[in-house]
Symmetry: C2
Amino acid sequence: MWCQSCKEEYEEEDAGTCKECYEEASETEEELKREIDDLRSRLHFLRLPSPSLDASSLSHSDLLLHAIPADAPARPDTPAVPAHRVILASRSPVFRAMLENEMEESRSGIIKIYDVSYDVLRAFVHYMYTAEALLDEQMASDLLVLAEKYEVKNLKAYCEKFLTSKVSNDNAITHYAFAHRHSAKQLLETSLAAIMDNMSTLADREEYKELVEKDPRLVVEIYEAYLNRQVNTAAGKETDSSSRKG
Amino acid sequence: MWCQSCKEEYEEEDAGTCKECYEEASETEEELKREIDDLRSRLHFLRLPSPSLDASSLSHSDLLLHAIPADAPARPDTPAVPAHRVILASRSPVFRAMLENEMEESRSGIIKIYDVSYDVLRAFVHYMYTAEALLDEQMASDLLVLAEKYEVKNLKAYCEKFLTSKVSNDNAITHYAFAHRHSAKQLLETSLAAIMDNMSTLADREEYKELVEKDPRLVVEIYEAYLNRQVNTAAGKETDSSSRKG
């Protein structure tokens, strides 16, 4: 027998599908690919160039965003990030409320964004125009915090997905604490699972000791989840062995 | 043998794929579906609400578009369609040039759009914000013309695809002439093929007679294409019979 897909010969017990299902699956794949092409082209159309300060008068924005870092005062030569009211208001309910009501920010067109660096603010605004961001772990964490603050759900999910893909034994505790602080459920579950897979070395870790100092409640939750899993596993084995007996 | 996809029994000669390729294909399908979900969510994020005249001050636009119909003077009570410079300029090179240069339209914020009804203009602006349009054949034709004029390629392709899917024996000549006028290649090919499939009744059609009057060059092109196809088909048969002889 010959496989219609890889053209190799195979044994009867290695049969996958009948001819009809094979053809249907190929058609489905083609359809999905066409849909992807269509979505990509619409996405490309809807992307906007994020505005720059030195652009021509047309793209001149009606807002200026100022990054105010948490640790240091903003350097006086740090440029502002230009933006358009219509874009920020459509992406974020927080900006919408700020700009719809006659608040100081709306009148002056100047918005201060606290606890954030210029680079992160620029990446934030760029995402508002393009639905794209170049992430590393630091940038993803910083953008997630900003996305949460301004209720940009799409960006928060994007960053959380990225961080979740980066969870390892080495950073699980840090990510776990971060996920807790910012209600990132998927990241929380993944990092908690990674921690529970390495309980024997947990207490030796620096991040663990820090967490015990700073937020012992979270440490308790780790132990509770671990114990819970042990009990469930034991109950599962119990059921297994009793069903084997029966 | 049992198909892993439809679970039905089948004969050996109806085998489609081996098990390995079956599993790979299922994975590919899952991946494509995940990509579609991701693209849809980004698309949803980038859509903008198209502005309305009575919205709150925030969405207040900085442009007003006036529809000037070709056949009748615009009724004085026809409302203008509001829009934002940043959106129109990013979607259309024609609007970009108009708004970047210090033209009358840019200074006044008022743009007259000629030969178009209010409804079509509204649908046009809506597409600029959402990459979506509700089409019937008339709307698709009208929007295609406007998209061509303002070089909104994405919208032109969208309308052309819709019209191409509607080509039938009854409307092929009309679509053919329209496609010619607006350089719509895909629509041209599909409608020409539909015409050539019904050459025996061609000369009786009203649209044919009109076209002979208005643009006989196009009629000549139909006959040339038809003759060309006949010659090629004959040559094909010739090759067939000579290869059979050989």
